[in-house]
Amino acid sequence: MAAAPVRLIRGPASRAFVQHQRRAPVNARIPNRMSADSLIHVQELSKHFRTFKRREGVWGSIQNLFVRDYRTVAAVDRVGFTIERGEMVGYIGPNGAGKSTTIKMLTGILVPTSGEIRINGYVPYRQRRQYVKTIGVVFGQRTQLWWDIAVIESFKLLRRIYDVSQRDFDARMEHFDAILNIRDYLHTPVRKLSLGERMRCDLAAALLHNPPLLFLDEPTIGLDVVAKDHIRQFLRAINREFRTTVLLTTHDLDDIEELCRRIMIIDHGKVLYDGHLAQLKQQLLRTKQIKFALKDRTQAGCLDAFSRDGLEVDQVDELTYRIRFDRVKVSTSGLIRKILDAVDVRDLLIEDEPIEEIIKRIYAGEAHLEVSV
């Protein structure tokens, strides 16, 4: 299935959508990021979980009732940021970093331990019922639809729950079908859908009430290339056409590269980086790498000289080596010459460090970042 480029249809369908945009007067734009016009304000936000070690067995579970060894985990630790209307922000971090916990606080599921959230004028957990009307949420790990009933029945019930008029509902359904191709499985119960089919339906369900703000927790998890592409195109399209603000978490950095100009990197509950993806690359792309394959193994010893010069030499596989260097300090051509002089090279490749590597080093605490906002 070739994914055709997505264009949102003008005409009857798009009348069902509002542009989520309030045009500011030209001169009234406040440059400050903390402007009152920001859609999401988060300040000093923390969530601590108290867990306890469960004892095993019958006697253990009786003990559990009375004596508990509590341990407190700071899943999110004094996080702060603001997001403007129409932004598409990637929220990334290794497993257990606190991404889902943040999303759950922003969507009003969890009450923060401390700190402030203000979104679109609401405090999510306090004005939950009104607030959730203005957001759409997709958890890639778990469907928001009713398990046993046909997808279309779920949609109809959601229509009633969100008080969407029949006209808008029909227009939107047609529209989602045009982009996500969901028509074929509308009459299948959710439990019988494949992951990719389910995710499309979940996405459509989250947007049925045309919310100005969309939270996505790993929306592409477990999807094949085509499905991922579909979803990305869909997100790009709604962001472009309706200025829908999107905050998404993911482990797939292609999602980020294709969708988000801005990323936030979080680990151990703390924000490590908040800024443009391009800036992050620029800041860290001082590092280049040369990969080369040796003709035979006997020459490997000659590479020690490079290590002694303070260059990082890693063995990638049996005959392939990689040298990372700071291109400001080391001249690329000089280094290549040195390598060719020292060993017999069968193949050689110069590249920027892939973004995955950069992120990996950030997670590992090797790369040092200024948190720039």
Partner: protein, 282 residues
């Protein structure tokens, strides 16, 4: 249509009525959703109906057998006990119809994290948990109860005046609310203690105590069944009133009060508990 400006909700009483009306309408949507699923598994429905009806008859036959051995129970005749038994089946049935999710609340919603989804919808979380599924088979308990009462009054020579019918509806509803509230209160425990088994089963067994005249129990048990877990209060005093027996004290007027108090406690605990909900790690 949602816009970027906060949606102006009516406040105060008007807002409450508005929300009430919306939820009332949604009740039918939820119910028809459930009905569609049940209709598509018709065979399953009839088997379940038959087994639950058999269970009701089996429990009822205990009363019949009992009265073949003894002529009276603490001054109560067979027909009178049958009336009380029948009346207690009404709140029991009402409770069973909506209890399915409550009974498994800790497992299903808290530990499995299904409550996330509930909190993401712009309607009451309690409404969703209660009405997301039903056990419509339990209507047979209500029907059996009504039948027992009808049979008993015929043999007792009591007439069903409109006032009595109204009383039956009113007290039946109050008792139903008491039953549901008690289990709601128990369910909210799951917000703080995530234990799989829960505290429902022992209390569930207490319901059977409400089917017999309170006067057969000792003072302590009576107190417990009236004021701690008021299943006894809910069915005994209204039955006494409807049967026209003179007994003191007459606590029937307190039944709606207790219903309101328990429901208020249950809803408050629920709302308080949702703030403690910690979701799951995945």
């Amino acid at each position: 249509m949602p816009t970027l400006t906060p949606i102006s909700e009516k406040s105060g009483i008007a807002g409450l009525l508005d929300a009430g009306e919306r939820h009332f309408g949604l009740f039918f949507d939820y119910f028809s959703q459930y009905a569609k699923v049940r209709v598509s598994y018709r065979g399953d429905f009839f088997i379940s109906l038959a087994t639950s009806f058999a269970a009701t008859i089996f429990a009822l036959s205990f009363v019949v057998v009992l009265f073949q051995k003894v002529p009276q129970l603490a001054g109560w005749r067979f027909e009178e006990v049958l009336f009380l038994y029948g009346f207690s089946l009404i709140p029991y049935g009402i409770f069973n119809i909506v209890s399915l999710n409550l009974y498994d609340f800790g497992n299903n919603y808290i530990i499995e994290g299904k409550f996330d989804r509930v909190l993401l919808r712009p309607i009451s979380s309690l409404f969703q948990v209660l009405f997301e599924t039903f056990r419509i088979e339990s209507l047979q308990e209500v029907a059996t109860g009504v039948f027992c009462m009808w049979w008993a009054t015929r043999h007792l020579g009591l007439a069903w005046t409109p006032a009595k019918v109204a009383m039956l509806f009113f007290f039946g509803l109050c008792a139903g609310i008491i039953y549901i509230s008690v289990f709601l209160i128990l369910s909210t425990v799951s917000f703080w203690f995530e234990d799989r088994i829960g505290v429902h089963p022992p209390v569930w067994n207490v319901m059977a105590f409400g089917r017999y005249p309170l006067s057969i129990y000792s003072g302590m048990v009576q107190f417990f069944l009236c004021w701690i877990i008021p299943f006894g209060l809910a069915s005994f005093y209204p039955s006494v009133r409807m049967l026209g027996r003179t007994i003191s004290p007459q606590y029937a007027p307190l039944v709606p009060v207790v219903a309101v108090v328990f429901l208020t406690i249950a809803i408050s605990l629920w709302n308080f508990g949702t703030r403690h909900y910690s979701s799951t790690g995945t």
